[in-house]
Symmetry: C2
Subunit: 340 residues, 2 copies
């Protein structure tokens, strides 16, 4: 797998990253919300030990115990989509195993005991699933999972029962947003069993015209069905976005250029930049790159910015605690430097 | 006098140009609105001949007969503040004498037979008046003006009676506009006998935070009083604007920088620029230059842009008739090229 942030993506890709998440629980251990701090930490050691029996894993992964890190550092992992907000919330009892290339993370004591996540660049659900499945099978050799013949893998929340699989893609839909088709599109996706979320999952807004599309149902369908359903839906969405971009290019060419270059001009010059505005402007620049209108900026740089402009990542980078306006000033400074 | 557009102004100047206009009529000739085309054109010849008796004038001035020029060319003189909209309106009967350095213009058959105008850079009313007075005295040797012992110089509109003198300055007030003090300031100026107009005189809007302040009263006061009153008022306005800029710099430094640099970023990158937006953005850049925040742009360049972005000047420059959106595209292109 390739890290989505640093991969040299094809410029025309509309899907930014693909993610597979498996939810698993241990048979003889109470669910994480029932664990005391001591038991929870023991559970972390158990999972870590099982995972590290394979020497390759030991060499490739590190364990991050949340309570050993500052809130900013913890949050910066979240901003890279490597851990969940929930894992941070329970920081006295949680940890995660992280691969050096930051494509695999195994959250321990999130809502479930184990949340194994593989994230890769572009539309690549199969590759991510293959890796997740491999690591899951490996773990299953050493850990006894809570499994029921009828319900499959048991999870805290019934929406994860069965396969425990959530497959999702992060997709960039500026043209469908600009032409206002996005609302009915998203509604349609919900009707065919998809969940749509913003840039940072549940409850987050779709800033920067970024959407996460994932399967809603995990029970009573095979992993294969989940993946091919999602692939089919995403392919359709990609087609619609491409068509919308073609219309923009044909009918509103100068307006399109204006939007893209103004965004670039503001990013290169602003002195105060809110996260929301910055994401929106980066979205137009990204569209410009994806449509080969802007040719001297690559998507690796834009992906890195997508993460680096987030508040915690920004503070970790400048190694300073910042508040309110200072964050917006530091963000603008970073963006100016990167784009210059 | 120095041409206000091309003069190397001191960066800190807030007054862009000073203008003196004298209204005069010939004693035995009906007012312009009563003249047939033939008589009007004869009148042009009469004034031109009188003016050109002085050989220096003949060498330094050219005569532009409005009917011999395209509407765009005529309009481009207006956009440089060299002639009035009224002169263009009566184009079959009007003309003007224009000095090569474009600091002096003598409009013939505008509302009055003669409208002698001197325009110079910065706050320089005395210099402009001195030149206007000199040329007026010269003309008076050869032409018999309509003059009344009691009412002074007779003019078509009673608001110009007496001295026939209108003195005005073009002033740039972005900070007073930003802090919303401008409305009460302008109201106050009206109360002390000043007229406030936009960038292009009567009825025009104050786009780009540019205001023309001029004397309302021409009768019953001496030329000296008119000039010193206006100077006093303008000095006060300058002080207020400077104070407002200091407050911005002290209390809202980053917001100020943000406003200025974003404006520059948009001007350097936009693909479609309306006149109104362009003037507003140029105003912030000008403020940046005037406050020594931007140091690599000079005001000569900004003054030239102020004129060149106007629709007729733009069409004359690219030698093409443009309409609607095409003007906004051409304007953006020009601005990008000039600021690059």
């Amino acid at each position: 797998m390739e890290n989505w942030i640093n991969a040299e993506e094809r410029t025309e890709d509309i899907v930014i990253s693909s993610r597979i998440r498996l939810a698993r629980n241990l048979k003889h251990t109470p669910f994480p919300n029932k664990l005391e701090e001591k038991e929870a930490r023991e559970n972390i050691d158990t999972v870590e030990a099982a995972f590290n029996i394979n020497e390759k894993n030991r060499a490739k992964f590190k364990t991050v115990r949340l309570w050993e890190n500052s809130p900013s550092v913890a949050r910066s992992y979240f901003e890279k989509h490597l851990i969940s907000a929930n894992l941070i919330k329970g920081y006295t009892k949680t940890a995660f195993l992280l691969s050096k290339d930051e494509t695999v993370s195994v959250m321990i004591n999130e809502e479930d005991h184990i949340r194994l996540q593989c994230i890769t660049k572009g539309l690549n659900l199969r590759e991510a699933f293959h890796e997740a499945d491999r690591l899951d099978s490996e773990l299953e050799q050493y850990l006894e999972y809570a499994f029921d013949e009828k319900f499959g893998y048991l999870t805290v929340c019934p929406t994860n029962l069965g396969t425990g699989l959530r497959a999702s893609v992060m997709i960039h839909l500026p043209a469908l947003t600009m032409n206002n088709e996005i609302t009915s599109l998203l509604k349609g996706l919900t009707q065919v069993g998809m969940t749509i979320r913003g840039l940072y999952g549940e409850g987050s807004s779709a800033d920067g015209n970024m959407y996460q599309i994932s399967n809603q149902i995990t029970l009573g369908v095979s992993e294969e069905e989940i993946l091919s359903n999602l692939e089919a839906v995403v392919s359709q969405v990609i087609d619609q976005e491409i068509r919308a971009r073609e219309v923009l290019k044909t009918k509103y060419y100068y307006e399109l250029l204006d939007k893209i270059y103004r965004a670039l001009g503001v990013l290169k010059n602003a002195v105060i930049l809110s996260l929301k505005e910055c994401l929106e402007l980066l979205s137009y620049v990204r569209m410009g790159v994806e449509m080969s209108i802007i040719n001297d900026i690559n998507k690796k740089l834009l992906n890195n910015l997508l993460v680096e402009i987030q508040p915690a990542s920004l503070q970790v980078k400048v190694d300073k605690k910042l508040s309110g306006k200072d964050i917006d000033i530091e963000r603008a400074k970073l963006v100016r430097e990167v784009l210059r």
